[in-house]
Amino acid sequence: MAVEMFEFTATVVGIFISFCMYTTLYGKPNPIRSWAEYSYLAAGTGVSVVIGLWYIWNTAIVNIQAGDLILIASLILGVMMLFRVYPKYNYVSRLPIAFSVGVQLALSLRTIIFTNFLRQINATIVKLWTGVPMEFLYRFTIAVSVITILSFFLYTMEITGPLLYSSKIGEYLMYLGFGAIFAQTFMGRLGLFVGYMENITTPAWKQPYTVVAAIICLIAAIIFDKTGLGEKLSAG
């Protein structure tokens, strides 16, 4: 029963606090929204600290205990990093930052040229005619689009002559692409919203709580707005 109570209270509070947050859509400040926002900020930061410590423990301490002594350096550098918050000695943090930036830069530079440049070019260079008209249409369109869109993004020269035509075509094709991408982005955001609504309406016992929470929060948002209390009591 204790476990059920735990689940039940967490679920109901979760539903209520969600609709407190949804009152953002009303467009006016109110205290229940501020409460939700600060709760998230506090609890979210709390979780990230605990998990961050967990990561440091398991990746550094556990491995050091197992004999990987070189990792002691990570703890020393990490502690040096913390000096950043202390203005008088914040220069101490510059060494770990330099080290960490150097490593991350190397990791990104050594691979990005393959994944983002060479592989993308290679994938564009394909036999256009494979005997399937639809395939031809796809491959031809991709080749034309990539080349013309790239020519739209040239900045160190005046766009004249054939480049002008190419960049103009590129711009139009890009907007066709944007239309498709906008739709996909909308699908993603809608999927998230629908998924969450599915989560708070399944199983069926959650439905009354969801509907009641929605109504209470909407009424609260209207009251806070009309009475002017929202502006006064919210976090600003």
């Binding site: 830069l105 990791l107 239309g179």
Partner: protein, 212 residues
């Protein structure tokens, strides 16, 4: 000693050496260096994880200022600091899979994480409704492509009018994909050039480097 830490050339040297130690073994086979560079990566990963401490401290400091100066909403900052301390204390002392920490994770963090991003669906909808207008040739193309793909994405349309799938797939897999590919190519070069600028000491001022 402090002069050593403060010296710009020390910082740049460390930046360049750590870069080379990880960059070179990927291209040139030097026995032993690969092992060492893997260790450097783990060290860098752990070092980075400490930045969370900086984040918490800045949050705490900011809230402290609100509370001390009694700025608007200061009471929320007291709540924030107390809840944050409670959460961290519980998570460390009683573990992550039980008690108040677990409850707050389920009741506050997970639902609000969904709501915050889910709200974007509403803004996307209102932006679409407001701005999908055929005001110029470009906007007209955006509108046409957007409508076709939106129609296809509604699952019912695809099953009632199978003809819409090839049209929508064509738009996403050719034009949409090309935009992504172009972007990928240009961002990649931008990132590498930025790397060069950092390694040659042109941009490091942003990292708080330099003599004092």
């Amino acid at each position: 000693m402090s002069a050593f830490f403060k010296s710009r050339s020390t910082q740049l040297t460390i930046l360049v050496i750590s870069f080379l130690l990880v960059f070179i073994p990927y291209f040139i086979n030097i026995p032993g260096l690969d092992w060492f560079s893997t260790k450097l990566m783990t060290i860098a990963a752990v070092t980075n994880a400490f930045t969370i401490g900086i984040a918490v401290y800045s949050q705490y400091k900011r809230s402290g200022r609100f509370i001390m100066e009694r700025r608007k909403g200061w009471i929320y900052h007291i709540y924030l600091v107390l809840l944050m301390i409670f959460m961290i204390f519980n998570g460390i002392v009683f573990g992550q899979h039980t008690g108040g920490y677990d409850w707050l994770l389920k009741a506050v963090v997970t639902p609000l994480s969904s709501v915050i991003y889910g709200i974007l669906a509403f803004y996307m909808a209102s932006a679409g409704a407001r701005a999908f207008r055929a005001r110029s040739p470009q906007a007209a193309l955006l509108l046409i492509a957007g409508l076709i793909v939106l129609l296809y994405q509604a699952p019912l349309t695809g099953s009632v009018f199978p003809g819409i799938e090839p049209a929508a797939t064509y738009l996403t897999n050719t034009f949409g994909m090309s935009v992504a590919r172009m972007f990928s190519i240009s961002v990649c070069i931008g990132a590498i050039v930025l790397g060069v600028r950092m390694l040659t000491g042109k941009e490091v001022a942003f990292l708080g480097f330099g003599e004092e």
